[in-house]
Symmetry: C2
Subunit: 349 residues, 2 copies
């Protein structure tokens, strides 16, 4: 069966210059013909020439690549409420509409995060039983064969313990299906200073998670254990999740910066850099944030994948892969199913 993915072709820092070649490579290089169809949503005059430049007129001809017109573009800095109100024909909104009407089984956007969340929520609505969507992404792991998911990475702040339970259930379902992990281990992000074992909210959430028969809850995870393969899914409020994620970026940056300065210090260190280069590149590859691109707005009636705004082609293709996998697996149905069970248990329990 052919799976269709809608792309907000105008979204992101580089818009169609990245999304169009990524879509073409996705179809031509990494997947079999007929497995996927891609709809590029946006300003036709900008998209069409890029298709030709990338020698992909054949994809248009055989209808595995379609261009779907949308006249507006949501700015990266635009207020979500304004985008929702004034940009009803934006590439972002139209791409989401295509998911809503099941023309596409998933959509991907590198656009304005807040606008994407607000629009997706408005158009697709929440899965009954889920209060708010979460942003779920893969994080690097010390054992680089293993996948660790973390949510919420910043869709919400001030989430309640009940919402953390919903996040846990969704993260568990996602990991079970996408990574074929039978009983994903779920951890709650918490602090470990001796006197304080977490905020009131986290303590309450821990009690909810440990009582749920749907979850394999294994306890608290501290910040320094995030990448330790201790669990499969790390659950947290979007405030801490976002701070933790961005702190990681900051530290990686600090280290790379220090390395660059030290290697440039003198003729000997420059030689050392030359010799060490392949190794440094291998390290970079392993931890390349591009390969972790593609966060899922989970909890909606439809698959919406957020790519990093600054994604390049390779990186955007990872986001497309994320969308493709979840669409093939009908992830929304699985989540809906588990949440229904959770609600039934709550009623009868």
């Amino acid at each position: 069966m052919t799976t269709t993915i809608a792309i907000d072709a105008m979204g992101g820092d580089y818009g169609a210059d990245v999304t169009v070649p990524a879509a073409i490579d996705f179809l031509k290089k990494t997947h079999n013909a007929n497995d996927y169809k891609i709809i590029l949503v946006g300003i036709e005059d900008q998209i069409r020439p890029l298709v030709s430049q990338n020698n992909a007129d054949d994809l248009i001809a055989n209808q595995s690549l379609l261009i779907y017109p949308a006249t507006q573009v949501v700015d990266m800095e635009e207020a979500p409420a304004m985008a929702l109100k004034k940009k009803k024909d934006s590439s972002m909104r139209v791409a989401i509409n295509l998911v809503k009407e099941n023309t596409a089984q998933a959509c991907v956007s590198a656009g304005n995060t807040g606008a994407l969340m607000a629009t997706a929520r408005f158009v697709l609505k929440m899965i009954p039983g889920i209060d708010r969507p979460a942003l779920c992404s893969i994080i690097p792991s010390k054992d680089h064969q293993k996948t660790i998911r973390m949510l919420d990475l910043g869709a919400n702040v001030d989430s309640s313990p009940d919402m953390l339970l919903q996040f846990a259930i969704m993260g568990s379902v996602l990991t079970r299906h996408v990574d074929n992990v039978d009983l994903p281990k779920i951890g709650l992000l918490n602090v470990g200073a001796e006197d304080i074992k977490g905020s009131e909210k986290v303590k309450k959430a821990a009690s909810l998670l440990s009582q749920s028969s749907l979850l394999n809850y294994t306890g608290y995870v501290e910040g320094h254990e995030l990448y330790d393969n201790k669990v499969d899914v790390v659950v947290c409020d979007g405030f801490e999740g976002n701070i933790s994620l961005k702190t990681s970026e900051g530290v990686a940056d600090l280290l790379v910066n220090a390395a660059r300065e030290e290697f440039k210090r003198n003729i000997f260190t420059r030689f050392a850099a030359l010799v060490a280069m392949p190794v440094l590149k291998a390290i970079k590859m392993r931890l390349d944030p591009r390969s972790f691109n593609g966060a899922t707005f989970i909890g909606l009636n439809g698959i919406v994948i957020k790519s990093h705004g600054g994604a390049d082609k390779v990186s955007f293709m990872y986001a497309l892969e994320t969308a493709a996998k979840q669409a093939k697996l009908n992830m929304t149905d699985h989540i809906r199913e588990q949440i229904t069970i959770a609600l039934d248990t709550k009623k009868t329990g």
Copy 2:
């Protein structure tokens, strides 16, 4: 004038094996005679032989090094309440008592964080106007000449906006005096996802900080900007502070681990490692967490410095330096003074 520092000689993973040599090197190698006096608090039978082994009987003879007996030791895993109740003659407690009675102008412990906080708070009491102490530490900076302080790193969770204001004032005073920064720039740790600009608490705190005439509040700081020299002091609740700090440790660990594996891969990478070694060491030195050792429990009627439990001699000496500097500057008085002004402003304002 001679400044006296009391050391919980039994605290930390290595106890007297680290604290005694560190105290001796501090007195013999890094400071002038008569500038400092150190009181080693703990089990005399364990401390005394170490003094001799480190050829420091002269320091005992001239009374710049003193041994003050305490019969108990607080375990690293002991519940703070139990330590407070049952260990009234612990090396930790007695060291804090020496600060209370002004025999020492500061104390340093590598012991159980929770017990140290509970005991210090119980013995020394809070500075009037401060609700709870915060844990304040230096974090690395991209520009490695510059000092960035962050608080609270985990003394409290669920801090109120008012408490965040108190943290900001204390952090500002500390930076002004210790680093001679006239108007330290103060930032609030927050998230930056487009739709959500922080929790309710952080928004309220931002309003308080921006209104305070005692502060040079410059706005929000995101996780990835922590090390960017954007501000001099980063203020946050201990929950996020602890998660951010520990996430940093986790990422650094992940990177070092990846580097180690990649450099070991084959004969060429092993050669590369050999050549790159001095550079890698220089990077390590620059970001060496040991050199950031010595967190201040700020807000108490007395200076209490927490060393990392696993500190080695070099690292513990950094904690001693932190204590020494703050003691010489009478930091507690400066904080008391500013908090009094803040309270007066609040009354009249």
